[in-house]
Symmetry: C2
Subunit: 111 residues, 2 copies
DNA sequence: ACGAAATATTCAAAAACATGCATATAGATC
DNA sequence: GATCTATATGCATGTTTTTGAATATTTCGT
């Protein structure tokens, strides 16, 4: 276990060591979601969510794709996915099968 | 995934999100070690190490047991062990079989 | 081109964290 | 009981993180 590996892994853990980011990742590991969706689910102000998304994006943990006005994010780091499986339980299809549309989000995917 | 669970897991991740603590845990998951051993291996001042050990101890991640003057710590949280297995690779007996005595540590276990 | 909606950026203030250093405690030995 | 050794604690300080709020940017529809 080299020092560099250790630093890298510590950095990954640090990203997950934040309740809001952790919840964002838990949502995104299921399906890609737009910012407004996360805003609706988390109940936090949009700029705040965008900031956390930026942290995750710049770390390479998530990637974004634009669809019109909306930006959809999804999990892009298999190592993080593995850690989430251990910490939060597996992301089973039968558990999360149908994407849950959220009534109070009116992005193209929800309505 | 309740909010409390999320907070708990985020806290656990936060503990691991620190290079020195991560390395300490990587050592302790192999064998119980005394503070002077960690001091020798990590090359950091003893009070600094004791501080990190306290953080981990108060979080319930490690436990201590006294042997004379020495205090031996060991990993006590199976969930953390599982995360370490994923992040740092499994703690295989054939990889770490014999406890590595460190020449520059003269605790009872090393000498 | 203009207005509106979705998202991003920037800045500031408070809180938390990391780290170094001085000192305190506890147990062993003489 | 004095002293030595291993470990713990307390405190000061600089740095990072967190979070809120204002504002900017992008893209679409008209």
């Amino acid at each position: 276990m080299t020092d560099r590996q250790l630093e890298e892994q510590a950095l990954r853990f640090k990203l997950l060591g934040h309740p809001v980011r952790l919840q964002i990742l838990d949502i995104l590991r299921r399906n890609p979601e737009c910012v407004c969706h996360l805003e609706a689910v988390l109940g936090k102000p949009q700029p705040y969510i965008s900031q956390q998304l930026r942290v995750l994006r710049e770390a390479g943990v998530i990637v974004d794709s634009k669809e019109g006005l909306n930006v959809f994010y999804q999990l892009a780091d298999p190592e993080v996915a593995a850690l989430l499986n251990v910490a939060l339980g597996p992301n089973l299809p039968e558990r999360n099968g149908a994407r849950q549309s959220v009534s109070f989000c009116d992005c193209p995917h929800c309505s």
